[in-house]
Symmetry: C2
């Protein structure tokens, strides 16, 4: 199963909510533990980019970050206001 398939499955289960959503996942698979993590800083810049495209407050964005020995995953879930996408 590809990641794209997974998104399709999750779409069906949440379709009844009829909310517009934007989800961003960043997974960093590290070959060594001895590296600095740049995902927290990257997260700030990703949010800044997203906010150029959609009108959302910080309240509408939930962020989770998981880290283990060789994998870090940053997940941003954004509930969008209806038809509020900015024209760019």
């Amino acid at each position: 199963m590809s990641l794209l398939d997974y998104f399709k499955i999750s779409k069906v289960s949440s379709a009844s909510l009829a909310k517009e959503r934007l989800q961003i996942l960043v997974a960093h698979e590290r070959s060594s533990k001895n590296q600095p993590s740049y995902l927290p800083q990257l997260q700030k810049e990703l949010l800044a980019v997203i906010q150029k495209y959609v009108n959302v407050s910080q309240d509408a964005i939930s962020v989770s970050f998981e880290q283990d020995d060789d994998q870090e995953t940053l997940e941003l879930n954004i509930v969008l206001p209806d038809h509020q996408a900015k024209a760019v």
Copy 2:
């Protein structure tokens, strides 16, 4: 199964390659077809942000974009050079 669980599964299957990777998924679940898609433009900005953090050429980045009635998914897969993360 959460998306984070999915990343953990995919990690195991690709661990033998021992390459450092960064994967970014952006899924936009739209409530209406009559909206402009901003993911192609967003993709360019995300790549610009990523390249501030890691030294990668365009060749190391593969991008796929899928679109159906109410879901768009942008997937960026980046193979990182070993220990080349920039200090920021």
